[in-house]
């Protein structure tokens, strides 16, 4: 903001005056974004640690809770999110090549897939509320037992631990998706106005890194929450 008018005229967004080259500016932005993602890795890492501990300690409850989740919806959502990562990668590519319309199209597609994911998640959450699977005073849980199967010995009290972990992890993941959709909206407005060019598309690239990170979290959440004990 303290740029003199002359400096502003010679240094645009693609090369601010404190960077030597465009490459250096881009690398600095990437490194900064990765440092932020490191804090995100540790944030989700804490929850994965809680998951690991409680899963080891209360395996039967985690297995029974996992069976009560809709594997089909979880799988479809995984595919939806992976496709949205592809459209995001294509959006960054379009920005690199300076194709404004394609960039807008892929941003819109990414938002549609992101919103689809959240919609499916809402359906799943609704089912959990209807079945009283939400931890709290109204918690109740009945095992679905197929013919010829013996129900797992579970404790209703520790059963809530699985759903606490489930809601904490998928809830924080969903919050990240909502923030991601906000970023996409911002990028869409800016790109429609022609703010990005092959010389300067850093915001698109950084939002892409964020979006792919959120995708990676789900890549782990899907098998860890939905597929604990589907065999037999």
């Amino acid at each position: 903001m303290s740029d003199s008018p002359a400096a502003t005229a010679t240094h645009g967004l693609e090369l601010r005056h404190h960077f030597a080259t465009e490459g250096q500016q881009r690398d600095s932005a990437t490194l900064g974004m990765w440092l932020f993602l490191v804090t995100e890795i540790m944030f989700f890492g804490g929850m994965f640690c809680a998951y690991l501990l409680y899963r080891t300690r209360h395996f039967n409850e985690f297995a029974a809770g996992s069976r009560s989740l809709d594997t089909w919806l979880g799988g479809v959502n995984t595919a939806v999110l992976l496709v949205s990562s592809w459209t995001m990668a294509m959006a960054v590519r379009s920005a690199q090549l300076g194709k404004r319309k394609l960039l807008c199209l892929f941003l819109v597609l990414t938002m549609i897939f992101g919103a689809t994911f959240l919609g499916v998640k809402a359906v799943e959450y609704h089912a959990k509320f209807v079945e009283h699977h939400v931890p709290g005073p109204y918690f109740d849980f009945k095992q679905e037992v197929k013919a010829g199967e013996t129900p797992l010995p579970i404790n209703l009290h520790t059963m809530q631990m699985f759903f606490s972990v489930y809601f904490a992890m998928t809830g924080m993941h969903a919050l990240h998706m909502v923030i991601g959709l906000g970023l996409m909206t911002y990028l869409l407005i800016k790109s429609a106005r022609g703010a990005y060019s092959p010389k300067y598309y850093t915001p698109v690239e950084m939002a892409g890194l964020y979006w792919h990170f959120v995708d990676i979290v789900w890549i782990y959440l899907f098998p860890l929450l939905y597929l604990i004990d589907v065999h037999k």
């Binding site: 890549i219 098998p223 589907v230």
Partner: protein
């Protein structure tokens, strides 16, 4: 922090992005079928191995880490993974060696 002059952006082809995308979808299917086979304790190991393979593809190609010229970015990622492993390993070591029943 050198060679900034060489770090012009690397544009990956649509075909290659699609190949990565399809591979990710196929391995999601494999994750599911691997979970339907009873491998006992090995089920979680297989699930985590497939998830890690998928995550690696996303990081290297969708997140362009394979093409970055900045070595600090790679050092940062490796450092993050190291501290994540430290968190999980030491917590589990504590858990496993406690005298609770």
């Amino acid at each position: 922090m050198s060679n900034h002059d060489n770090s012009e952006h690397h544009v990956i082809s649509v075909g290659f992005y699609s190949l990565i995308g399809i591979t990710l979808l196929i391995f999601t299917g494999i994750t599911y079928f691997a979970a339907t086979v009873n491998l006992g304790q090995a089920n979680i190991v297989v699930a985590l191995a497939i998830a890690t393979f998928k995550a690696t593809l996303v990081v290297l190609f969708f997140m362009h880490v394979k093409y970055t010229s900045e070595k600090m970015t790679r050092a940062t990622i490796v450092g993050a993974l190291f501290f994540l492993m430290l968190l999980l390993a030491l917590s589990m070591a504590d858990f496993a060696t406690r005298s609770w029943t």
